[in-house]
């Protein structure tokens, strides 16, 4: 199809941009490791120094991998929510799903005391349960209330309520646990340990493949549930799967990276703007790639090249995402449409 060529071209260009940013990002840092050195190491021509190797494999590659997974997963969550709720302003952060995950994580982190971040499944599972609970609440409410704005406001209320509970928990927790929680809540791509990265990869990657398989169904959900049913879509099952994948994707990323705002809501709109199509078969890959590009870029910004300091990733993504959302609200007066 003639229209599809644009999407393919955009996806191809995004891929190239991503590779470039990836290489730039692992190159970046106080210890110099040039791309030639890395290539030579891979080809066996010469070996990297001990220190260089540790920095590359223990720090830089895991953090880029984390950025890539977060960048791919969060926009998919946002896109699915936007389609299911038929609301352009939906996203895991706005709807309180990230807050649910944070609450789950807070229970584990603050409850576990001074040991800091727990590198096990418990953190992930707690975040899934937290995200899933908010998701179920939203599902329940959306059965009764069809109004788009009401659901958004409820999502904001959920997250404020959970934030309040978390702050009470913080008040009563030990100083060391509090410190690690506060650091966690700023969001970081660099604190992910090897085993956490493993958990992330094992949940995020298969789920992303699953969501791709639901492109057609998501297309059918765009006109709302009545149309979906009359086009042969089993909406109960679809909703359940979409909600479960969103909870697990957003939950996993939030558990290990902290809350990362505005990637979920903003990136699908950037992708739509780029490919100018609404077919999820094209939108999902385009959103994943755009998200990965934005996350790797945000990671580079957060590391403030040339300095020793690292900004909280949540702050960087918010500063990138918020203008997109404002543009969406202000420029697109027909905000009812996706």
């Amino acid at each position: 199809m003639k229209v599809r060529t644009r999407s393919i071209l955009i996806i191809y260009l995004l891929g190239l941009l991503l590779i470039a940013l990836f290489l730039l990002d692992i190159r970046l840092g106080s210890i110099s490791i040039t791309l030639t050195e890395m290539a030579d190491h891979l080809l066996g021509r010469s070996r990297l120094g001990e220190q260089q190797l540790v920095i590359l494999t223990k720090f830089r590659l895991p953090r880029v991998a984390t950025a890539l997974m977060a960048g791919a997963a969060l926009p998919v969550c946002g896109l699915q929510m936007q389609t299911i709720f038929r609301n352009p302003l939906a996203g895991p952060y706005v709807l309180g799903i990230s807050s649910g995950a944070s609450f789950g994580a807070a229970l584990v982190v603050l409850g576990a005391g001074a040991t800091g971040l727990v590198a096990t499944w418990s953190l992930a599972v707690a975040a899934w349960v937290g995200a899933g609970t908010v998701m179920l609440l939203l599902l329940f409410v959306s059965y009764r209330i069809k109004d788009v704005m009401t659901i958004l406001i409820l999502g904001i209320m959920f997250s404020s309520g959970l934030a309040a509970i978390i702050s009470i928990m913080q008040y009563f927790s030990q100083a060391s646990a509090l410190k690690s929680f506060v650091i966690w809540s700023m969001g970081s791509l660099g604190n992910v340990t090897g085993s956490q990265l493993n958990i992330m990869a094992w949940t995020v990657l298969p789920l992303l493949v699953v969501t791709l398989g639901f492109s057609k169904v998501l297309n059918g959900m765009m006109l709302g549930e009545e149309y979906a049913v009359t086009m042969g879509i089993r909406i109960q099952r679809t909703r359940l799967i979409i909600f479960a994948t969103t909870s697990m994707l957003a939950g996993t990323i939030t558990a290990f990276c902290g809350p990362i705002g505005f990637i979920g809501i903003a990136v699908p709109h950037i992708a739509r703007f780029l490919i100018k199509r609404s077919d999820h078969m094209e939108l999902i890959p385009a959103s994943m790639l755009t998200g990965m590009v934005v996350m790797v870029f945000s990671d580079m910004i957060s590391r403030l090249p040339g300095t020793e300091r690292i900004l909280p990733i949540n702050a960087v993504t918010s500063l990138i995402g918020i203008p997109v959302v404002i543009w969406l609200v202000v420029m697109n007066r027909k905000a009812q449409s996706l």
């Binding site: 038929r86 492109s215 059918g220 009545e226 086009m231 042969g232 739509r272 077919d279 078969m281």
Partner: protein
């Protein structure tokens, strides 16, 4: 039985609809939809038009009885099989995604595509044809939010059309449309009959329904009356429909008459066919029933100098140069 299957596409047997057992809207319905016919469903707001249509296609569970589609109970079909037999256009008109007409219509092929939603050359041909069918060819690449209400509704209908179903069900497709667009849309729907499709649509617009429908279902006093538009007219139903609201159906002119208030009888006499017609319209608009021999009279006279009207009442007679001043006079006279 086989004859019957060939003729009916939908058969209601003691079908009852509503929301929960305590809220039955219509019960014991026995209605049929034949192949290649267009049925207009008429009824007041809240009478159960939407619920009937949605119960018919499985969006709302019926409270009792059966709806047979091609002789088989509706629930016996899988969702995909249903989607290949019945398409739907909802009355909901807002909150549409930002799709192009072509993308929207393409969604109608969902029941036919593989799990990835890939479309064949044939699918694309059908999409193009459906867009042509609703005369939206030049708008194929346009986004829905940039269309007028009439165009958007035609695009929604093309999406249902491309679903290639023997039955199309539309819930108030003309609700947001002006008079010419309503007429155009109903005429468009009636053309779909040529390909052997059946169309069931609900509407408030009795005039176009009477003009185009093969059969009417009129919800009245908790029952559904079924018949050709003319059958129902002969039975005096249309007058009865709105009898409590002071609206009458003029069988000669084929339109509803109604006014703010009832003013009694008036006689209109004189010469000139056009003059008489428009004078009667004026009187009716003001709330008079035109009747021969009434005490209040309007005499119409035409001369080379132009038309003139003389109103005769108990107090004498007054002459007018146009219908506007005549109307002002009649209003103040009461």
């Amino acid at each position: 039985m086989s004859d019957r299957m060939a003729e009916h596409i939908i058969l209601f047997e003691d079908f009852s609809i509503g929301y929960q057992k305590e809220h039955i809207l219509l019960s014991q319905l026995n209605l049929t939809v034949n192949r290649g016919e267009m049925i207009a469903l008429i009824g007041k707001n809240g009478a159960g038009k939407s619920t009937l249509l949605k119960s018919m296609i499985g969006l709302v569970p019926p409270l009792g009885g059966a709806c047979l589609l091609d002789g088989v109970p509706f629930d016996a079909y899988s969702l995909r099989e249903r989607a290949r037999r019945v398409s739907f256009v909802s009355s909901q008109f807002t909150q549409l995604p930002s799709l192009t007409v072509e993308e929207l219509v393409g969604l109608g092929r969902i029941p036919y595509t593989d799990w990835m939603g890939r479309m064949s050359a044939e699918d694309h041909k059908k999409i193009d044809k459906a867009i042509e069918e609703v005369q939206m060819g030049i708008f194929a690449g346009r986004k829905l939010e940039n269309l007028s209400d009439g165009e958007r509704q035609r695009a929604m209908i093309a999406r249902a059309f491309v679903q290639d179903t023997p039955l199309m069900v539309l819930d108030e497709p003309t609700a947001f449309l002006d008079v010419p667009n309503t007429f155009e849309l109903v005429r468009l729907l009636s053309r779909f009959k040529e390909s052997g499709r059946s169309i069931v649509y609900s509407t408030h617009d009795l005039e176009t329904a009477i003009q185009f429908a093969d059969k009417m279902w009129v919800i009245h006093k908790g029952r559904i009356l079924e018949g050709a538009p003319e059958d129902l007219g002969l039975s005096g139903l249309y007058n009865e429909l709105f009898s409590d609201s002071g609206i009458t159906y003029d069988e000669q002119v084929g339109r509803f008459l109604g006014s703010v208030r009832e003013r009694g009888f008036i006689a209109v006499t004189g010469e000139g066919e056009d003059l008489l017609i428009w004078t009667r319209k004026t009187a009716e608009r003001l709330g008079y029933m035109v009747k021969e021999g009434a005490d209040l009279k309007i005499k119409v006279a035409s001369s080379p100098a132009g038309a003139s009207w003389i109103v005769q009442n108990r107090n004498g007679s007054t002459r007018f140069k146009n219908l506007y001043t005549l109307a002002r006079f009649l209003i103040q006279e009461q």
